[in-house]
């Protein structure tokens, strides 16, 4: 579990990615608990714009994975509502942080909204999920790469 300590201390995106991989592969309760704890460490500062964008993408995917583990019945049903609320709150924080990005904003936001839509669909809020997905189609299809700016 060394990766967990690294992630906690530095918010390192690769450590997060490692945990994500671990949780998806192992699907065990302990990892879910640790991931939830890590979710609260969203305030960790990233050193530049790109690593910040990468961190937000990773956190978003972690939130979705936590939900998937949850809905796969790995947690007691009594804590489901509580944890889902935590997950949705964390998505709000991520989306707020995305707004501060100078570059890659819509690209990152698209990924975050897609992950949140999956969670919303999972809890039966399909109209909200549809709204998120339509936002992506409306705003991301037109994105173009421009390396000169």
């Amino acid at each position: 579990m060394e990766g967990i300590d690294v992630a906690k201390k530095h918010g390192d995106v690769y450590a997060w990615a490692f945990l994500l991989e671990l949780a998806e592969t192992c699907r065990f309760y302990k990892v879910v608990k640790v991931m939830l704890e890590l979710g609260k460490a969203l305030e960790v500062e990233a050193k530049d714009e790109n690593s910040r964008a990468m961190k937000l993408l990773t956190v978003s995917k972690y939130l979705l994975t936590t939900f998937k583990l949850l809905s796969a019945g790995k947690l007691d049903y009594r804590v489901v509502d509580e944890v889902v609320n935590e997950i949705l709150k964390s998505f709000d924080i991520v989306l707020r942080d995305v707004e501060d990005l100078k570059v890659l904003k819509d690209y990152v936001k698209g990924h975050v909204l897609r992950d949140r839509a999956n969670v919303l669909r999972g809890i039966g809020r399909i109209y909200d999920a549809k709204r998120d997905l339509n936002w992506i189609l409306k705003n991301c299809q037109k994105l173009k790469f421009d390396s000169e700016d």
Binding site: E49, N50, A53, M54, G73, Y77, R78, K102, V103, L104, D106, Y107, G110, H111, R114, A117, N118, R121, G124, R125, I126, A129, K130, L133, N134, I136, L137, N139, C140, Q141, K142, L143, K144, F145, D146, S147, D149
Partner: protein, 307 residues
């Protein structure tokens, strides 16, 4: 809209030329969004729109993402079934057989299950042999559902299907005991109060609560029943309390095969009511399953919805 990237660093770690990687990543984001939207549109019973979304996703996936492409094709055919069409799954099955080393076990299991059931209408004489050849590759969930539906059509040993469906139901049910107790308690202790206080004033809250009991009329009936016989309330609440729609479908199949048709109808109606505002497709399918003359057709559709 120009994506202002002041450096190529973000896409460089993906390897190759950053601009190509950006395009690839964006294409995948759009494709997966179309895929997810396809599922939602299916749930909203907008089948044509749903198919269009899966076809858009397929265009991107077909060249490089074989696994996702196969899942899109499967969804397109399953939507056809929901629309009442006869779909042939043989081509997908053969494609899976040719590429099985590139697929995960869950997808292999899915393709096997949807193919076996399609044989009911095309080549019933091939069911036994295909089932035997696929048995080891099918997940527990897919196997139980396939056997259950085949039994409804008389193509599988009924006793064996009942045993497996019951085992599945019992296993999930264990975690729901407390929920059932809580709901019975609600009917007994607060039902009357809630009815008199909220009816006409706060229908929204009442309806929201009533969805767990098969709708407002059923809740009223249960409140009345609670005054006479608690055990009857427990029986009814226990019957209609399920963990999710797959669990409800499993229980529905079990009740039907056991010959408890009245109970099967009550459960199907309760599920239809529960999903009304959350998933129009599921609400419609369970509603159809509650009608005796449409039960078998609904069961096929519920199968292709859930696998």
């Amino acid at each position: 809209m120009i994506l202002k990237i002041d450096s190529e660093d973000f896409f460089k770690p993906y390897g190759g030329k950053a601009e190509d990687k950006f395009k690839e990543c964006l294409d995948v984001l759009i494709a997966s969004t179309n895929y997810d939207l396809g599922i939602i549109l299916r749930d909203l019973r907008k089948f044509k729109d749903a198919r269009d979304r899966f076809e858009s996703a397929l265009k991107v996936y077909e060249s490089k993402h074989f696994y996702n492409a196969l899942k899109c094709k499967s969804f397109i055919k399953r939507i056809g079934i929901l629309e009442g069409k006869d779909e042939n799954f043989e081509d997908l099955f053969n494609e899976m057989e040719r590429n099985k080393f590139r697929l995960d076990p869950e997808t292999i299991s899915l393709i096997c299950a949807e193919y076996i059931l399609s044989l009911v209408f095309s080549h019933p004489n091939q069911i036994d042999e295909t089932l035997r050849s696929c048995e080891d590759r099918m997940s527990y969930k897919h196997r139980v559902l396939t056997e259950g539906v085949l039994s409804v059509f008389g193509f599988f040993d009924r006793r064996k299907a009942i045993k497996d469906l019951k085992e599945y139901d019992d296993e999930i049910k264990k975690g729901l005991n407390e929920v059932v107790e809580r709901r019975v308690d609600f009917v007994e202790n607060f039902g009357d109060l809630v009815m008199t206080e909220l009816e006409g004033k706060g229908d929204f809250f009442l309806k929201d609560k009533a969805k767990y009991f098969g709708g407002l009329d059923n809740l009223k009936e249960l409140v009345e029943l609670a005054k006479k016989d608690r055990s009857k309330v427990f029986e009814r609440v226990d019957l209609i309390t399920t963990a999710d729609s797959i669990h409800a479908f499993v229980r529905l199949l079990w009740l039907y095969l056991e010959g408890f048709k009245r109970e099967a109808k009550i459960l199907a109606q309760a599920e239809s009511e529960y999903w009304k505002d959350r998933n129009p497709c599921l609400s419609w399918l369970f509603g159809e399953a509650a009608k005796e003359d449409k039960f078998k057709r609904a069961v096929i559709k519920l199968f292709y919805y859930h696998i």
